[in-house]
């Protein structure tokens, strides 16, 4: 049945492309995966250098997407190890736990510095930047300027190659923008329920531990490729797509180059994980000028890993370290042996991955491999982590387009490109670079999986899969509870009308005094003397008809004041409660901010 569909052409053998082919092959649909490089895995590949295995950046197998986890377990079975996570920030020759732990941060920074951090935080709360135009202002307003400088500034600038006051605040907001006030409120209201406490515990454990294949993610891709081949589909390496031919609402074929020879590959359905900018440049005929200009506006940050083989069984216990020291260029150091002990051929040796963020063609990118290895060795020594004579040898891997850049214009450009591509009913974009989106490995795989399911008849929106989903998962609420809260919250939390309540309370108070006084004035009795005491506060009041009207006016005035103040205070406290919940949710989503780069 599915063979009638014709082969599905998949561009790129990274996590998304391979997952799409894997899902299709399991369903009996044929596909051809075209990979430009000689290795599979894309950004999540594992390099094997003389028996030392290392990743291009570490790839935790940590997901809240059940379908992805199922594939990991299916493909890797007992080769998936459970590992403890220890990742710290290295700053001023000291280690700080990440996510930050208050006591550790206090001890690491010292008493004086901690006091300054506290006052800086206090200052930022009292006198925040009125406008949050850039990343520096955004973080400073939330953590204080001093903490921003210590824990966010240097690393962020190393990752993006831009000063923090040049990075838009929207970019930081991207991490939390998907979090609606309603979600935060619902989560806060349900947080104390026992089931949610249990869930929170599970999430905490998941963050402190992760799964990892015995020999790195590369072994999973290799296994997947074998399964794809066994099911009759193909993964072709060294095939660069040079042109994407289209007409009307269809992509018709791709031009593939191998060893200088060009061939045309037709297909019914196409999935592309090729960097979006590159893909649009390869459309034949050319895309409209504004679309091409938008595609060309999409930028990427590139990445170099210098793997150093060290003659020591243990250098540090962390799986990776964030380097916040401004004196060195290295941004992060991976300790692959701590990811899996099988990543090194000799237990007496260690393999460190010195990670440099750069732009393709800049001075760092253009350095000779020997120079980069020397730089990495020197920086390890500068940091005081290792003596350079302990380094046995090294190798360099350059990874272009490792991170899509979210600059101030990317969203507009992406929308233009997206709008153009939406005309194609047989082309789907998947993966991090394919969608120009911060998809981690699991979300990239999910896009591939959903794209394959779409070809098989489903109707998923791949653009709805995003990195924020991970955080939303943490706040996932039972649908029945959610439906009830959706109905209740908008009725409970809105502001109270001050004038409305003031008038209502004033009227009732005034009328109570009016009728009570009138009743006593008509009937008489011992209570009159006590009612008369009201004139101590209500000048001119008496238990008479005139007094009843005066009492009405006084009662209304005092009731009005009381009602107004009550509504004002209620609104103020409710707004503060909502603000706190929103802030807490922001902090929660910002907790593992550094982990995503």
């Amino acid at each position: 049945m599915l063979m009638d569909h014709g082969p599905v052409v998949i561009i790129g053998a990274g996590p998304a492309g391979l997952t799409a082919a894997y899902v299709l092959s399991k369903a009996g649909a044929q596909s051809i995966v075209l990979e430009k490089d000689q290795v599979v895995g894309g950004l999540a590949r594992t390099v094997n250098y003389k028996g030392y295995y290392f990743d291009i950046g570490g790839h935790r197998f940590f997901t809240k997407v059940e379908a992805v986890e199922k594939i990991w377990k299916e493909v890797l079975a007992e080769n998936l190890l459970r590992r403890n996570r220890l990742s710290r920030i290295y700053y001023n020759n000291k280690f700080f736990y990440y996510p930050l732990r208050p006591l550790n941060a206090l001890l690491g920074l010292g008493v004086w510095n901690s006091i300054l951090v506290f006052f800086s935080y206090l200052f930022s709360r009292l006198f925040p930047f009125k406008e949050e135009n850039n990343f520096e202002q955004w973080v400073s307003n939330r953590f204080g300027k001093r903490l921003f400088k210590i824990f966010f500034k240097t690393y962020t600038e190393k990752v993006w190659g831009l000063s923090c006051n040049e990075i838009s605040a929207e970019w930081a907001g991207q991490r939390v923008k998907g979090l609606s006030l309603m979600t935060a409120l619902k989560a806060a209201l349900l947080r104390n329920q026992s089931g949610h406490k249990e869930k929170k515990k599970v999430i905490k454990t998941l963050i402190e531990e992760f799964d990892y294949p015995k020999f790195g993610p590369g072994m999973m891709w290799k296994e997947m490729v074998d399964m794809i081949h066994r099911n009759g589909s193909q993964v072709l390496l060294g095939r660069e797509v040079n042109g994407i031919r289209w007409a009307g609402s269809k992509v018709e074929a791709v031009e593939v180059r191998q060893n200088g020879k060009m061939e045309l590959l037709c297909g019914v359905d196409f999935i592309s994980s090729m960097p979006l900018r590159e893909a649009l440049q390869k459309f034949k005929p050319e895309t409209p000028k504004e679309v091409l200009a938008a595609a060309n506006d999409l930028k990427y940050r590139d990445f170099i890993t210098v793997a150093l083989m060290v003659r020591k069984p243990m250098v540090f216990p962390d799986t990776w370290i964030y380097i916040h020291e401004p004196e060195v260029k290295v941004g992060r150091i991976q300790n692959f042996k701590n990811w899996s002990p099988f990543m090194v051929p000799d237990p007496e040796k260690t393999c460190l991955g010195m990670e440099y963020f750069c732009f393709e063609g800049d001075s760092l990118w253009n350095k000779q491999d020997d120079e980069l290895i020397e730089l990495a060795k020197n920086e390890l020594e500068t940091l005081g982590l290792l003596n350079k004579i302990d380094v046995e040898e090294g190798t360099v891997v350059r990874m272009p387009k490792a991170y899509p850049i979210y600059d101030s214009t990317f969203q507009k450009s992406l929308d233009t490109v997206h709008q153009f591509l939406s005309r194609f009913d047989n082309l789907q974009l998947v993966g991090r670079n394919g969608m120009h989106k911060y998809n981690n490995q699991d979300h990239s795989m999910l896009t591939g999986m959903l794209a394959a399911e779409n070809i098989l008849g489903a109707n998923h929106d791949l653009w709805a899969v995003n990195v924020e989903q991970e955080y939303h998962e943490e706040m996932k609420i039972d649908p029945t509870e959610e439906a009830v809260l959706d109905k209740i919250l908008p009725a409970v939390f809105p502001r109270m009308d001050k004038i409305g309540l003031a008038t209502a309370v004033g009227s009732v108070c005034g009328l109570l005094i009016f009728f009570s006084t009138l009743w006593l004035a008509i009937k008489g009795g011992p209570a009159s003397a006590y009612f008369k005491l009201l004139d101590q506060y209500f000048f001119g009041y008496g238990v008479t008809l005139k007094g009843a009207f005066i009492g009405l006016a006084y009662g209304f005035s005092w009731g009005f004041l009381f009602g107004w103040l009550f509504a004002y205070l209620r609104n103020f406290l409710m707004a503060y409660y909502i603000y706190r919940i929103k802030r807490e949710a922001e902090m929660l989503t910002f907790r593992d901010f550094l982990d995503h780069f």
Binding site: S180, L181, M182, L185, D486, L489, P490, A491, V492, F493, P494, R495, M496, D497, I499, G500, L501, T503, A504, V505, S507, V508, L511, L512, S516, W519, L520, K523, G525, P526, A527, Y530
Partner: protein, 110 residues
Amino acid sequence: MMPEKLPNEEKLLRGVFRLNAKILGLTLGILLGLVIFIGTNWLLIKGGHITPGGKYVVGPHLQLLSQFFIGYKVSFLGSIIGFFYGFALGTLCGSAIGWIYNKIVDFRTR
């Protein structure tokens, strides 16, 4: 009235809180009823005093409520009667506050 088509978050941020007049009335009614019931019985438990005229008096000030609540007195039966009076008055006042508040909100958000 809030337009029905507004998304929930918009309703929450831009909407105006409505009072449920019936519930507010019942709450105030029960509260006021209980205040009178407990207040009366508290005085009964605490006991009264003998006046120079040799009369045993309990809660002469609370007894003044009988000026408004006909049939009420500081006794156990009076506390039950007082509860109903308090309940009725509280319900009336609470419902009135809720009703007037909602009418004003309707008027101001029209």
